[in-house]
Structures are given as structure tokens and as C-alpha cells.
Subunit: 180 residues, 2 copies
């Protein structure tokens, strides 16, 4: 896929922050309704102080059973996982859990658009990478547990970092998924 | 809409529990991929004890900006809010926030299916009620802040409580939304 020079430096924002800003912008201009799902938390203990908000005093992070973001665009169900890596030559997928991969597979089977947005932070390069490619590596290359960067450059789509929206991934979908 | 006698008593399960079981069943049989979104929590303080899981020691519940459930069915984006009321004659919509109502409106505008699943717990009656009906009451009847039960019976669709799935709301969508 084509790679353009960065017009706007990323100025230290995380991929998740860039995507939250992008999605907020998309909602503001009425282009799509896509949100980050809340981080799942197992609440164990809650205090109810008088005249103030309930305070959670014991809770634990739970493993998410789905992906980071979902919503609707041009009538289509959109679902994706966002991952950053500091690795320079490959994307390690070891911290994507089997039930998350299963979820991506199921979404595709039900007619949703499922993909990953992967950032190589050392290069400030961000790619949209289809779940079907990812799943092939995930389920068939269980020993390696990573995908070479050159494969993601080739089969994925480079997302330029721009001013507004920060990461215009919907234009990639327009061009490669929804132009039929 | 037609109302059938309950074949299976609800045995004290909350509407959310019934819907979680229903969605789990739908996923198991490969019918749809629909999940409850995690409750949003603002994490303030986290302890990292040696050799054990990170423990959240101060956090607060946040107001959700979207609805309870979303996912994909037959290629369509599905999005709904579930609400129970003990009220016998009307559904009070006061605790649905304006940004949640806006979200429903936006989902419909982008081609998603948006609705509420409303249970009158005193009668163990559950209805699927389209967001467009709800939004009319919500934005036009700001003084009343409730919808008469007879309106929900008439414009909504009764969902029988059954053994498996507990609340087969996708069959309602098949019949009234997706049969064209
Ligand atoms: Mg992520
Ligand atoms: Mg609810």
C-alpha cells in the first residue's frame, strides 16, 4: 500500500488518543458513529458516602472479550482493534487474546468490517490491516507470534497522520472496502 | 403488537442478565455477535502489588455516552438500550440522558438498527420499541418524561420470555425490520 510522508508530526499522542479524537471528529461532522469501548473492570467493593458519588474502593481490570472500537459507518458494522508497537521489524501479536481473534472472525462472518489499526511508533507509521490477513497469521503461525512489518506494509493500507481528522481511516474503507 | 402468555417464568433474573444469556446463546449458535458494553469507570488510583494483579483502589462510575448493547446481525449494525421499570402504566424515560438519545438518533441516520428493550417488571412483559418512536416522545414531550404502557404495547413488539434464548429479540428484527 502507498506510503506518504507525514504532514503532521504525532507530538507524542498515543494511538488510542489519536483514534478517540478522530472518532469524535467523525461524530461531530456526522460522518460515522464509532466509539472506544470502556475498559472492562470487575467491581468488588463500593462505598456510598452521604451526599457524594459512589466510590469504588476495590476493582480489577478484566480481559476484554472483544476489540477496542466499534460502531456504524455507511450502514456497515465497523469493528477494530488498535495496537502500537515499538518493534521496528515486526508486529508481535502475542498480547491479542484468542477470544479477541475469534471475535474478529465472527464479525467478518456476520458481514461486519473487521480490521486492526497498527502503529509502529518508532517510525510513526500507522496501517489499517484487514482481520482476514491477521487471522491467517494468528491461527497458522502460532510459533512465530509476530507479523513482519513488510507484510503489513504490503497487504495493509498506510494511514497518513493529518491535522483533522488525525487518522482518516474511513477514507481507506471508502477506497478499498466500500467503493463497489 | 401481539402478546403471548409467558411460557417460562422469569425467576427473578434482571433484564440485563436475560439479555446477556440471550446474546451468549446467539454467539454460541453463530446467529449474531452482540455484546453488553462494559460499564464506564473513571479510574483514579491503582496499586501494583508485587506478584499479583493491579488493584484499583479509587474509581467512580461514569455516565455512559452510548447505549447498553451493540453488535452485528445479518450484516447490520445493531444498537440498543435495555431498561426495566416497576411502573405499571408508563415507562419513565427520565434516566435516559440526552447524549444517549442523540446517539440513538445518529445510529439510525447512519443506517444502523436502533431500539430499546423495555421490561415492565410488575407484569414480566418485555417489548422491543423502535428508537424513532422513543425519540419522538423524548424530544417532543419533555414535560411528561414518560411513555404510556399502552403506546409501547401498540407501537412496540412483545418479546416472549422463553427457555433458550431467554428473549428472542432477533426474531422480531427478522419479522419487522429485515424481511424486505
Ligand atoms: Mg488496543
Ligand atoms: Mg440499561
Amino acid at each position: 500500500a502507498q506510503k506518504k510522508s507525514l504532514q503532521y508530526a504525532n507530538r507524542g499522542m498515543t494511538l488510542e488518543e489519536d483514534l478517540n479524537e478522530t472518532n469524535l471528529y467523525y461524530r461531530q461532522i456526522g460522518r460515522a458513529v464509532i466509539h472506544k469501548k470502556p475498559t472492562p473492570v470487575q467491581v468488588v467493593q463500593v462505598d456510598y458516602p452521604k451526599r457524594s458519588a459512589a466510590k469504588i474502593t476495590e476493582a480489577y481490570f478484566k480481559q476484554p472479550s472483544t476489540t477496542d472500537f466499534n460502531g456504524v459507518y455507511r450502514g456497515k458494522y465497523i469493528d477494530f482493534e488498535a495496537k502500537e508497537t515499538k518493534n521496528k521489524t515486526s508486529f508481535p501479536f502475542g498480547n491479542i487474546h484468542a477470544h479477541q481473534a475469534e471475535h474478529m472472525k465472527n464479525v467478518q462472518e456476520h458481514g461486519g468490517l473487521s480490521f486492526l489499526i497498527i502503529r509502529f511508533s518508532q517510525f510513526e507509521e500507522t496501517y489499517l490491516y484487514d482481520a482476514s490477513h491477521f487471522l491467517q497469521w494468528y491461527f497458522e503461525q502460532s510459533e512465530r507470534k509476530s507479523i513482519p512489518k513488510r507484510e503489513i506494509e504490503k497487504a495493509g493500507h498506510f494511514i497518513p497522520t493529518t491535522f483533522r481528522p488525525r487518522l482518516d481511516y474511513l477514507s481507506i474503507l471508502d477506497q478499498f472496502y466500500l467503493s463497489m
